[in-house]
């Protein structure tokens, strides 16, 4: 698989053989922090491609926006990645080597991301890069990653339609979030009609396309589809349209500052989300966003994602405690932050499974790498470099947290090129 690096070869990584089978065949390869404590293997064995690995350290890169408009969103990811690195170091590092990170600022500017990637790969020879947030930055970085054969661990839920041998996608691709969310609304809430609303760029548009196809398949109706420019702050007209169309569900993928305006204006227009008429299902409002919107404005909306801070499992309790200890009690943790936390861990497991830092060697062992201490519960890397993960539905409370009201029985298979949804 690792050799299929051409663009044409991306798609046929193959669809998984189904959940059960994969579980059975791959469970055996799990190993957690046990083998790593063995004698530290010599550097020339584990690093044949000149990465920045010494006998006791290994360098990785963290590449997010610290400045500019995206800094708001990306800071959580930086914190999570640093936390994971710290924890890995405390537990003995990777192949006996302590992780050192080089942090670069993408400055919310896509060429800067590409430049910094080039710097990290060419000058610093980092063994892995944890970074990027927007699709645009990932798209800018991608050719560089492929050219210098780096490995990017990308945390954001995104639109799919991509499968690079040089990226591990630790967030969900669109179908994982959307299909489960819509199925839930239809089954549990009896939804029949949907109004699709998003900011005007690729992720909402692709997501709504998938949603629309899925709704069509279920024989239900989409009564409206609407996009507003990024940063738009006046939603009165669309609110009126929604009132006119009376959908059962508003399916919202509005992002950034627009979010704040949208929910405040919905509330002011007399829409009480707790009445669920219409029900609002979002794929873009994490706990992070609620802080800006204000919990009282979103009480009663539902979000469909893989992680909520309130998830009740021991992994998550430890994670939340560690995160708050590191960064303060008032921190909130959203879906992407958790996904960013997975990156360093998944890289560590892959390195240790491959017994090498070489990118080509770890690429061969990715499929099936598991992380059962993941805050979200359990994840596993699919052959297509995305993660198997569960999707949850949360209901927002005034305190800015979600109550998890539903989770999928089984792991959702990642399907970045969903047939029948394009």
């Amino acid at each position: 698989m690792g050799t299929t690096t051409t663009a044409a070869g991306r798609r046929p990584f193959g669809k998984g053989k189904g959940l059960r089978q994969s579980l059975a065949t791959l469970a055996a390869s799990v190993m957690l922090a046990t083998s790593a404590q063995a004698a530290v293997p010599p550097t020339e064995e584990v690093n044949t491609t000149g990465l920045a690995v010494t006998d006791d350290t290994v360098q990785v890169g963290i590449l997010h926006s610290i400045t500019g408009t995206m800094a708001i969103s990306e800071i959580g990811s930086v914190q999570a990645e640093k936390l994971a690195i710290k924890q890995i170091n405390e537990s003995g590092g990777v192949l006996g080597r302590q992780i050192e990170f080089i942090q670069e600022d993408g400055a919310s500017d896509w060429p800067t991301f590409a430049e910094k990637t080039r710097k990290l790969l060419r000058q610093d020879d980092v063994a892995a890069i944890f970074g990027c947030w927007t699709s645009a930055s990932r798209k800018a970085v991608l050719p560089v990653m492929e050219q210098y054969n780096g490995m990017l661990y990308y945390p954001t839920f995104y639109e799919g339609l991509e499968q690079s041998p040089n990226v591990i996608y630790t967030g969900q691709e669109a179908t994982q979030q959307i299909l489960a969310g819509i199925d839930w609304a239809v089954k549990e809430k009896g939804a029949k009609s949907f109004y699709l609303l998003g900011s005007d760029y690729i992720w909402p548009r692709t997501s709504n396309k998938i949603a629309r196809k899925h709704i069509d398949k279920l024989g239900l109706k989409v009564v409206g589809e609407e996009y507003y420019p990024l940063g738009h702050t006046q939603f009165n007209s669309v609110i009126n349209k929604i009132k006119l169309k009376k959908p059962d569900v508003i399916f919202a993928s509005v992002v950034g500052g627009s979010n704040v305006a949208f929910y405040k204006q919905m509330k002011a227009a007399g829409v009480d989300f707790t009445e669920e008429d219409p029900l609002l299902l979002t794929i873009s409002v994490t706990e992070d966003e609620i802080r800006g919107i204000g919990g009282e404005n979103v009480e009663g909306i539902y979000a469909s994602m893989k992680y909520f801070q309130s998830l009740d499992n021991p992994n998550n309790k430890d994670f939340v405690a560690a995160f708050k200890e590191a960064y303060g009690d008032d921190m909130v943790i959203g879906d992407v932050t958790q996904a960013a936390y997975l990156g360093p861990w998944l890289w560590k497991f892959a390195v240790e499974k491959a017994g090498s830092f070489d990118i080509d060697k770890i690429r061969e062992v990715f499929a099936g790498i598991e992380f059962d201490k993941a805050p979200e519960g359990y994840v596993r890397i699919h052959e297509n470099h995305h993660l198997w993960s569960k999707t949850r539905i949360g209901r927002a409370k005034t305190d800015g947290q979600y109550d998890v009201v539903y989770e999928t029985q089984e792991l959702m298979e990642p399907d970045p090129f969903p047939e029948g949804y394009q």
Partner: protein, 308 residues
């Protein structure tokens, strides 16, 4: 798109849509008034206008926090205090900026544009350092949320009404100040003939500073009002820049009435198009129409025809 609706339903929707247009109108008026004063009366382009608005919004945020912690019983009324504070703080900063920067740049309007852009970058980063990069949530008293039920179907958002009332009162206040007060006469005298105004004993430097401060103060009130409907974050102010400038320029720079007329025209056009088209295309079309009209009629809607 109107199949299957009763007439009364349609009427209600149109009523609410008309109201949506009006609240967009009041948002535009609030945004543009401060700028119109500064630009129209002084010829200064204040690119940091959006950041002054956000300063007002942060003031509201802090005031709300203060009331919640120390005077919870008075929380319902904190918003009025916040608006006054927002005005004072923004006006004070405006006066300072005028003294430090703007006064050296009169008659170089393009340079004020660049300098205030620099100021806006600094203010944004200052917000980021002080309040964090994330948007802050401003808590509002309960009475401000929710809607005013007119008929079964027609609901008017209270905060929309509130913004409208603020916009109209400030517009009226500015009108009285500029056209009915001694101070306003002085301002207009300085605008029309600075040397002559100085010769008759008007302290033109003082008038400039007050005018700039007033414009910034109004931006602060606008920012306070916008916490009800928009986001409060370090770079939220940028979202308003293009719209605000277009409203002012479209109205004809030296005419306050023009600013209001243009705010009305643009808001109605945009809100109507938004209803019938998708949001993005409505925005593009509105901007295109405004730019197109400005190309045909560069002096704006209401400019006086004067000897040039």
């Amino acid at each position: 798109m109107f199949d299957g609706y009763t007439t009364s339903e349609l009427m209600s929707i149109f009523a609410m849509q008309g109201f949506a247009g009006l609240s967009l109108f009041s948002v535009f008026v609030l945004m543009a008034l401060g700028l119109a004063i500064i630009f129209g009366q002084m010829g200064v382009i204040n690119m940091a206008h959006g950041e002054f608005m956000i300063l007002g919004a942060y003031t509201t945020y802090l005031t709300s926090g203060f009331f919640q912690s120390y005077l919870p019983s008075l929380f319902g009324g904190y918003f009025f205090i916040a608006m006054i504070l927002a005005f004072l703080i923004c006006a004070a900063l405006g006066a300072l900026i005028e003294w430090l920067m703007i006064r050296h740049l009169y008659h170089r309007p393009l340079d004020t544009l660049l300098a205030t852009w620099g100021l806006s970058l600094i203010m944004q980063q200052a917000y980021r350092s002080i309040f964090g990069a994330r948007e802050v949530g401003v808590d509002l008293p309960d009475w401000m949320m929710g809607a005013f039920q007119v008929t079964d179907l027609v609901e008017l958002p209270i905060n929309g009404l509130f913004v409208m009332i603020i916009a109209l009162s400030i517009a009226l206040g500015v009108y009285l100040l500029m056209y009915r007060s001694t101070w306003g006469k002085k301002v207009r005298a300085v605008v029309q003939n600075r040397p002559m105004a100085e010769a008759v004993g008007i302290n033109s430097a003082g008038v400039d500073r007050m005018t700039f401060a007033l414009g910034c103060g109004i931006a602060g009130i606008a920012g306070a009002a916008f916490t009800m409907i928009g986001s409060t974050g370090p770079s939220s102010g940028q979202a308003y820049i293009v719209d605000t400038f277009l409203v002012v320029v479209f109205g004809g720079a030296q005419s306050l009435i023009g600013t209001i007329v243009s705010a009305f025209g643009i808001s109605q056009a945009q809100s109507t198009m938004e209803f019938f088209l998708s949001g993005s295309m409505a925005k593009v079309l509105t901007l295109l129409v405004v730019v197109g009209i400005l190309m045909l009629r560069p002096e704006g809607l209401m400019a006086l025809k004067v000897r040039r």
